[in-house]
Subunit: 106 residues, 2 copies
């Protein structure tokens, strides 16, 4: 079965905090959409488990965050690859939509 998720339609923004949409979860990977208002962020964090994740910018601009205050500019079409055990985060400068894929799923 093919499953289509319209991320731009099915998730919106909140003034309080980034807004999260579970796009897909299976034994193979987990896919989550985060929407940020400019200024909102997913703080730097990590989990001490095997695996990797990608963070893809669908819309808007901001920064990928890493260990020791690393800041990497992030715009549409940019993809960040990180071990799950490596510190990573996202900060939005404008309204921003990203897609996070985690394999294997947490």
């Amino acid at each position: 079965m093919l499953k289509k998720i319209e991320v731009f339609k099915e998730n919106d923004f909140s003034e309080k905090q980034f807004k999260k949409l579970l796009v897909h979860d299976s034994p193979y990977f987990k896919v989550i959409n985060f929407n940020f208002r400019g200024g909102q962020e997913l703080p730097v964090h990590s989990h001490d488990i095997e695996g990797q994740l990608s963070i893809t910018v669908l819309e808007g601009a901001g920064e990928f965050l890493g260990a020791e205050n690393a800041v990497i500019p992030a715009g549409p079409g940019d993809v960040l690859i990180s071990d799950i055990s490596e510190p990573h985060g996202v900060r939005a400068k404008t309204d921003m939509r990203v897609l996070v894929t985690i394999a294997p799923p947490i």
Copy 2:
């Protein structure tokens, strides 16, 4: 180590056929960017192995393709989830950039 790939900058288009960029390959997943000129397509195909894939539209419009001539409209922010063993494909109506994630990697 964080690794950033600027998909919009690092891959372009070709008049002959869709253009492919290997974004990432690891034991956990493979990430590939395909750029299509309007009219180009990745024909419906499948592989008889375990796993799933996602196809995310980064830019442009077209169609996700499935078994028995299934056609599903595809626009920015749309994500298609498919088993690797399920027939799937993409056809572009305008210039179109998609990101394919395969877990576990083929």
